[in-house]
Symmetry: C2
Subunit: 253 residues, 2 copies
């Protein structure tokens, strides 16, 4: 099939080895890129799930080392959760936004509103929890710089996690860190074909890229990364932090 | 470029004519498909924005014919909106979920929680509002059946709209109607490579497809449709209505 003008392609990066703390993630990704038969081009977006970034950065916690405090014990009983997990959720959060249905919706230290502070046990060794990167924008920047150095290409990096959402069942992958790409495309002030000024439309490119990437990266397979090619985006370095809504502008916090 | 195993492609359908009430949308789409150099294959997903579906279905309202009632007048003053627009928002809604910052977040008659009941003036003739389809799942089913009949292919159809979201700035395209595709991929009970049962992961494929499609369909261009190829999905007919969360299970309503 020929590359069609304006089309977007998403390539899964297959057969990534299991990542361990201290592993060189940029090298593992590039090995997977070449195994997958892709060669990186300028403007390609490398999308990586939070889990492998957290593992490489050692953001794993041995459950046996966690001592739950009184608040964690109380919430754990109420929600039917492991008190040690609740203790870690509280430690990673600024505040609880909602609780109920066996879940804690919190605002993480980075400002993300999500269930359980992004902490879970899937795809990690038994008895461990994985935490979100301390600052996924910084993780994305380091990864982008390393990949650019190794390949000589201008790239963008998006780090994703799987979030639930209000009002709809199911989960979507969203961006928690980004570098090399401006997160929002700002169309405010541009004109539609009927001559109306577009007043409010700001496509959240990084989140649409994260969700698109999930279409090739399935949770039960060893495919924690992908390459997205063909998206028209502006280069930028403000990161996902720049699209976290301020609390006073938010109708749901 | 060769089609890579497991990759996903998204093709924009260009140069769609301006759609008018009564136009045959399936034919317009297929003409655009052939102009765009794509030929539809089994399992392709045809993604169409709400706006052209609403236009073809005549879901347009002449603002001059709208008589705002007292509630609309009061809310319009409070929010700084056109009272006629507010009147239409109220008519299309079951209830108001939040109000403020110049916006009404409502639950539509179909059950979607979104700003202004999906009503806007972009990409329509001056003096008109476009409303969401009465039931976008039914619109998707009709469109899928017509496209399948005309092409002899097994297809899926997703109808999208652009929604804001809590906690993050910017907008993403989400599915408001679907046919031929099961909206959620249910991974509950499958096992990750470490042997853990995946307990909660249900990727909302239709929403990830909607967002992915937005990456090639830009608001200021005449590209209201795309073809998404390569997504592994299960055929199904339950529609987007099946992923609208019940009110009592929702922590944010």
């Amino acid at each position: 099939m020929l590359k069609m003008e304006g089309s977007v392609q998403i390539f899964p990066l297959r057969d990534m080895p299991r990542v361990k703390p201290g592993d060189k993630l940029p090298n593992l990704i590039l090995e997977s890129v070449s195994r997958s038969g892709v060669s990186l081009q300028d403007s390609d977006i490398v999308v990586v799930t939070q889990k492998v970034v957290s593992k490489a950065e050692g953001r794993l916690v041995d459950l046996d080392t966690v001592r739950p405090g009184p608040k964690a014990l109380r919430l754990a009983t109420k929600l039917g959760k492991d008190p040690r997990t609740v203790q870690m959720i509280l430690r990673e959060s600024k505040r609880i936004v909602r609780q109920g249905h066996g879940v804690l919706i919190v605002e993480t230290r980075q400002g993300f509103v999500c269930a359980n502070a992004g902490i879970d046990q899937s795809n990690v060794e038994e008895g461990y929890l994985s935490l979100l990167p301390v600052d996924a924008d910084i993780s994305a920047r380091k990864l982008r710089k390393a990949l650019e150095k190794l390949t000589g290409r201008k790239l963008a990096v998006v780090i994703t996690d799987t979030f639930g959402r209000p009002w709809r069942d199911g989960h979507v992958d969203v961006a928690i860190g980004a570098s090399g790409i401006t997160p929002l495309e700002d169309l405010v002030g541009t004109t539609d074909p009927y001559g109306h000024k577009l007043r409010v439309t700001q496509p959240a490119l990084v989140d649409e890229i994260a969700g698109a990437s999930e279409l090739v990266m399935r949770k039960h397979s060893l495919t924690p990364a992908s390459v997205v090619r063909g998206v028209a985006y502006r280069r930028g370095y403000r990161g996902v932090r720049s699209i976290v809504r301020e609390r006073r502008a938010d109708l749901f916090r």
